[in-house]
């Protein structure tokens, strides 16, 4: 079924399910599907690709393990991450849909990250932070919500902490955070508040004051959590 080149390599035979998975992802890319979109039913994929349903199922298992897709019994397979970078995310998402938990985790990580950044930041780090602030300000001045600048800022801070493990962990929950972030910045006046909070954090980091940076970040996260909790059901 597959054309091997007559060369003489160890013959990397590809399993059929890999090709199917690739086809599926290609189709996703072509049609600009994004998170939340639904794939074709297994049966249809099978007939369209000319393979058995079992093979399609294997491909979906692979994609599920990689974290690109979530297969839901009786419903279908939906994309969880079109970029395909988040692996652990799925496991996390299953256990941590609840907003407060996300905020707790974010507070834990980012507060420490801010403190570390204050003591470890280099000049390039500071430049990246400033650049992120500029992006955010420009966006807000233009009437935007500054989401992109917000992301850049936190990414810059995280990088400035120079801790690979913490960075890795932030990556893991970054997508979860993104939801709360957009939510928060959608509130009137919030982008400005957020920007000034960012400035205070940046200043503390520039000063090299870990405690001050931690406090500023903590305050910022608390500010964001305000909204998120309002949106969610009232709790204890």
């Amino acid at each position: 079924m597959s054309d091997r080149q007559p060369g003489l390599q160890p013959l990397a035979r590809t399993r059929l399910y890999e090709q199917v998975a690739q086809q599926i992802m290609g189709w996703v890319a072509e049609n600009d599907l994004t998170t939340g979109d639904r794939l074709l039913p297994e049966r249809e994929l099978a007939t369209r690709l000319g393979v058995s349903r079992a093979t399609v199922s294997q491909a979906l298992v692979a994609l599920e393990v990689v974290g690109v897709v979530a297969v839901r019994h009786g419903d279908g397979a939906v994309l969880t991450d079109a970029s395909g970078s988040a692996k652990v995310l799925d496991a996390l998402r299953a256990h941590a849909k609840r907003l407060p938990d996300i905020i707790d985790a974010r507070d834990a990580l980012e507060t420490k990250i801010a403190a570390l950044a204050a003591s470890r930041r280099t000049e390039p780090d500071l430049a990246a932070i400033d650049a992120a602030l500029d992006v955010m300000e420009a966006d807000i001045d233009a009437g935007g919500r500054g989401v992109e600048g917000d992301e850049l800022f936190h990414a810059a801070i995280t990088a400035a902490a120079h801790s690979s493990l913490l960075e890795k962990m932030m990556q893991e929950i970054s997508e979860l955070i993104l939801e709360t972030r957009i939510e928060s910045l959608s509130q009137p006046g919030r982008p400005r508040d957020s920007l000034s909070a960012h400035r205070r954090i940046a200043d503390a980091i520039r000063l090299g004051d870990p405690d001050l940076a931690a406090a500023a970040m903590h305050h910022h996260v608390a500010q964001v959590s305000d909204v998120a909790i309002l949106r969610d059901a009232p709790r204890d």
Copy 2:
């Protein structure tokens, strides 16, 4: 600030192939199989586990994608990495071998966890914490290093924080932490110091004082890091 209601979660249903994969890895761990060892044939696995061969095949696809086994047509499935349960861990380990990073992450997570535990702990939580302390003390009195009690203690604190995401993250780095823990407790006098530090943390949590608990935990982690940093190369 966060719902406890242990009663009604989205009911995480596990796919059969996941259970099969887990069983297989468990079997691998039990029999001390290492890289290069061969798994049982699919057909035998299927009959032994009471599932169809298709499901076993799905499990192997999953394990293959994760990188634990390599399935070879006509030959069998061989282990490529006998790490057993740690999948994510390895990715982390690759990027985060350095002790200081581990300590940073631990400080970030456990400090927050201690604070949350102080405000959320229930009576059973406190009982579990006390039990862990008892275990540790008994072990030390008997001449041990109190490693087990130490683990129990931190697990109890983590549980008392009632934050699934933070708990998940602690799990991810727990194995990495274990190394530093054993290292630290091996130093003369350390077990006693550690025990009293634990007591202070437990007291703060019982009092319901988040700041005090956080401070106590931070001090404890710093205490441990003393050793670890000495062992590792000095850093900034």
